[in-house]
């Protein structure tokens, strides 16, 4: 059995960078491990960094959505970040929706969304337009943006 996916605590955030092939067993243990970590308290947000994930089937997508919803019930926001454009396109074409899940393009944006003003790598006014701090676009909208980008 593969070892569990590490959960890193940083500035009150739980950071999970998934770099392994996600078996169902791993997904299940991640879900319960995260629940337990959140229960320990003092968690301001969860970041799931997915740039190392190259398959997202309905089960995985649903499980990650469940994780975000469970965290939300416990008062903690979850951000998915680094989704591969190919996966985003696949999810949209499948008709898979990640309702209520916040997504950002890169890890910095995810941290910024969950810890506004804390990191300050880029001053607020240098950011493109007046993007909302916490990106409220659904993942499918983000995926559609990716589709448009690819067509350029």
């Amino acid at each position: 059995m593969a070892s569990a996916i590490p959960i890193i605590r940083l500035y009150g955030l739980l950071l999970v960078a998934i770099q392994v092939e996600l078996s169902d067993a791993l997904v299940k243990s991640l879900r319960s491990d995260l629940g337990r970590e959140i229960q320990k308290g003092e968690v301001r947000g969860v970041v799931l960094e997915l740039s190392g994930v190259d398959t997202f089937d309905t089960y995985i997508a649903r499980s990650l959505r469940d994780i975000a919803q469970i965290a939300k019930l416990m008062g903690v926001e979850t951000v998915l970040t680094g989704l591969d454009p190919g996966i985003a396109i696949t999810l949209v074409e499948m008709g898979m929706q990640l309702e209520g899940v916040t997504t950002t393009l890169c890890l910095e944006d995810a941290l910024d969304a969950l810890l506004p003003g804390r990191l300050g790598c880029r001053p607020r006014d240098e950011r493109e337009e007046d993007a909302p701090l916490l990106d409220e676009r659904t993942s499918s909208e983000v995926a559609l943006l990716d589709l448009d980008d690819l067509e350029d």
Binding site: T55, T58, D84, M94
Partner: protein
Amino acid sequence: MGYVSSITADSILKAALRRAGVAAGDLDERGIDEAVVREIGRGLSLFLSSEADLRESLAKLSALVTPRVGASGRAPITIDILTETSIVDARLQARASARGLGFDRTDQARITTVVSELARNIFSYAGTGRIVLSELGAPRAGLGIVATDAGPGIPNLSQILVGNYRSRTGMGLGILACKRLMDAFEITSAAGKGTTVRLAKFLP
């Protein structure tokens, strides 16, 4: 169209298999390869009077061979779905095949996702089964995916295919996703006998 009686056909086939060195029991596993076709052709030429009939029969036989052997002649890959970890195996094999055939990253994601759905359905609903990945040559290059099981079958298939189904276990999205993400899709299922899904994704 020339006429060959079933008794004659049977003996032609037996003789061809013997000459090609293929045991009849292996035919399902190996499929009809070039050597078998050549030998069947030799047998047929003894019985078919017209050259045109012979050519037509040989063309039909060759068509049976082409889907199994692609441009590069890579052998089909069979993944037995036995446990939950087979789902990951199937996915890894699918990605390797898709990459090897030159599919771009988006198509690789489509292909691995579909294979993952099929493997999961086999594991969840039929228990065991297998997935065969094969390179498609003529008429269009690409990847062929066949998922078979001898499970309970899908009684409400038509309902699922029109999207009127929301399952208790999942979202009722897997089979529809297969259809949406691939270029060719065919599913047959019989109650108590099992389910076969055939798919193809073509290279652009």
